[in-house]
């Protein structure tokens, strides 16, 4: 029955797309979007909305698509989200809004993410201006980091009338959206750049090449006249395994591999940054970053193995990305863990020694713990190894800011749900508070912090004026 079957969406043919960096999912056409939107049964008490971290009024924007009023659909999205074109593409909807869609009980849930993407892309193509900005209120707020948390916080505050400036360490704003997520999942010129231009149209200023903690300190930012600061510096430090041979030539962190390709565009011959992949590549890990690194290596011409210590059903990566990776010919070595990286006489990777695993008892989080099978070690030949084991927050800002506490994993401590840190007038949110998580959660945190910053400054100004 059509009611329970999702409207199919087009993808680039896997045989072709492994030779290019163009977007893989082509998105819904108008007709397809309308057809899919009409499947939504417009629940009185929608179960999808509470599962969206920013609580977008999902039935309302979908109804507008069904009525072919794409402009209003986009406007509704803009009320809740600063980056709908991004979130429609990269959110793990299967674990959020789509997971609790009532249609999912008897069939396939509504393709909420793809519809969000459709409406947002339509707005971009039609150059729709969605931001309404209040009159300037004369107060300055500084944002550290231009990733999803910072962008969202900046956008919300600018709309309220604040003069907002973002300090970004890299030479381009966007955070993980520009250096982490590849072009074939999230186009940079067409989507990310446009979203950041929209932010600038709201009056947000972006100063790149400023590393807070080195170029300037948090206290120096206050000296420049800012009333409050939001820290959205992410979790950008790569984790290595500390196994023998990890510093062999040809071993990358996924962050380095992806930064070279996405931010520095090393895959293009007209760019100066080099990249090197061998004939066979091993990617260690099972998250989205591992999928991105594997699929990037495939596009650079390699045979790619993903090495993951649990089974396919525990892969933390998004289902769609895993499916796409399998279609593209990525080979998965499940229940496998590396124990050593082997080098040739010149110090280049020539192989990887792994041990087979089995799933043992459940750990505290309820996941079955992988256990090594004794005597099951084996070697296989690879020329490049990419470590995608996760990241942790950079300790630079807490270390250089007196009174700003962080925990033993370098996560900035917040003392309430609004992102208030242990220091007055400083707020934080996103991966630097939670450890590496999702784009939409970072956006949610940026949004909450914006509200709290507004409240803080308004209360302070009342007190001063009385």
């Amino acid at each position: 029955m059509a009611k329970f079957t999702r409207t199919p969406i087009s993808y680039q043919d896997p045989k072709e797309r492994i030779h290019n960096f163009e977007e893989v999912c082509l998105g819904y056409t108008k007709e397809e979007a309308i057809q899919e939107a009409k499947r939504c049964i417009q629940c009185k008490k929608p179960t999808c909305v509470p599962s969206c971290p920013v609580n977008i009024d999902i039935p309302r924007f979908i109804k507008k698509i069904a009525e072919e009023n794409f402009q209003e659909a986009a406007q509704i999205l803009a009320e809740y989200s600063a980056l709908p074109a991004v979130c429609g593409r990269v959110c793990p909807q299967e674990d959020q809004c789509e997971k609790t869609c009532i249609l999912g009980r008897k069939g396939e849930p509504i393709a909420i993410g793809k519809l969000e993407r459709f409406a947002a892309d339509w707005a971009i193509e039609n150059k729709l201006s969605l931001g309404k900005t209040n009159e300037k209120n004369g107060y300055k707020v500084a944002i550290i980091g231009s990733g999803p948390a910072g962008i969202t916080c900046a956008g919300e505050l600018a709309k309220e009338g604040y003069q907002v400036k973002i300090f970004e360490a890299l030479h381009e704003p966007g955070g993980v959206l520009v250096y982490g997520i590849p072009e074939f999942r999230l186009p940079k010129e067409k989507i990310v750049k446009v979203e950041i231009e929209n932010l600038k149209k709201l009056g947000v200023e972006v100063e790149t090449n400023v590393i807070v903690g080195r170029t300037i300190t948090v206290d120096e930012i206050f000296e420049e006249g800012y009333e409050a600061i939001f820290i959205g510096s992410g979790a950008g430090l790569p984790i290595f395994m500390n196994i023998p041979g990890e510093n062999t030539n040809g071993v990358f962190s996924a962050n380095e591999f992806l930064t070279r390709n996405n931010l520095m565009k090393a895959y293009r011959s007209d760019m100066d940054t080099p990249i090197k992949v061998g004939k066979t590549v091993a990617v260690v890990g099972g998250g989205n970053v591992a999928m991105d690194a594997a699929r990037t290596a495939k596009r650079l011409g390699a045979e790619v193995h993903v090495i993951y210590r649990r089974t396919q059903s525990e892969l933390p990566a998004r289902e769609e990305e895993v499916e796409n990776a399998i279609e593209e010919g990525i080979i998965f070595n499940f229940l496998t863990n590396p124990v050593e990286i082997l080098a040739d006489e010149k110090g280049w990777v020539k192989g990887i020694r792994c041990i087979k695993m089995e799933l043992g008892d459940e750990d505290q989080s309820g996941r079955r713990r992988p256990v090594e099978i004794e005597g099951s070690e084996y070697e296989f030949e690879v020329e490049t190894v990419i470590m995608a084991l996760g990241t942790s927050p950079n300790p630079l800002i807490p270390r250089t800011t007196e009174g700003l506490d962080s925990d033993n994993r370098n996560r900035i401590k917040i003392i309430d749900e609004n992102g208030q840190t242990t220091r007055k007038a400083i707020f934080a949110g996103g991966d630097n508070v939670t450890g590496s998580a999702t784009v939409i959660l970072a956006m949610g945190a940026g949004k909450e912090a914006a509200k709290a910053i507004d409240k803080y400054i308004m209360e302070k100004s009342l007190q001063t004026n009385n």
């Binding site: 080195r214 290595f240 500390n242 940054t273 090197k276």
Partner: protein, 289 residues
Amino acid sequence: MYEIIHKKLLAPSIYSMDIKAPRVAKAAQPGQFVIIIVEKSGERVPLTICESDPEKGTVTIVTQAMGSSTKKLVAKEVGEHIKDFVGPLGKPSAFVNEDIEELKKKKILFAGGGVGTAPIIPQAKWLKERGIAFDIVTGSKNKDFVILEDRFKELAETLFIATDDGSYGFHGMVTNAIEELVVNQGKKYDLCIIIGPMIMMKFTSMTTKKLGIPSIVSLNPIMVDGTGMCGACRVTVGGETKFACVDGPEFDAHQVDFDEALRRQGQYKEEEIQKDHEYCELVGGMING
């Protein structure tokens, strides 16, 4: 965009450039570095800060045109701009946090090699301003490549210049020069700070180890972001993996695995030669002409 305020040829293919970057100039401390991107298609290149003037808002870098990026950089003239210039990066030199009176008791030797002698300046200046005396020994290929001699003379108690071919000063390498000072001239040093090409730092460290002089090196591995987010610059120090951009760039010279560092530094040699070749064709040999 960051304007080039001043440019000077110091030796064949070695240029000093003052770049307008007020925030960096204000924050820079001895031992730190910057990352630059010359133009839109460019790569991120780490360069040690050679001088900074907070009042003028300028930072001085000294570059030898070696690969495509450094050649593109030195081809820029005064009034032109560099696309990105970020810093200061890395930890300041350890002595910045030491007790001045304790430092005054120490006899420090700086050992610089080639273009790597220029980054001695900010450290030497810092010490000189605090009344701490030190010697400097520099090594160059030949007379033409001896740079900043007058500047070093002002700063150091003794400046000892060595050239590989003996065309100026002491005949020999930096390692020979240090042995000459310590073994033959009987000088005693409590600390040696070594800056130069990786291979020079390796052999100089071996010499100071043999002579029992505690030493520090300023490492220059491959870097991408320079902020700790990628690990391209990782080095093994005392058996532990460190990121040179955030844990360094200065480390205990006698704890560094130089063979690994040299091997890792050469990872993109083929690609660099390839790029360099393309660039030379592009500018029709203008750079070397």
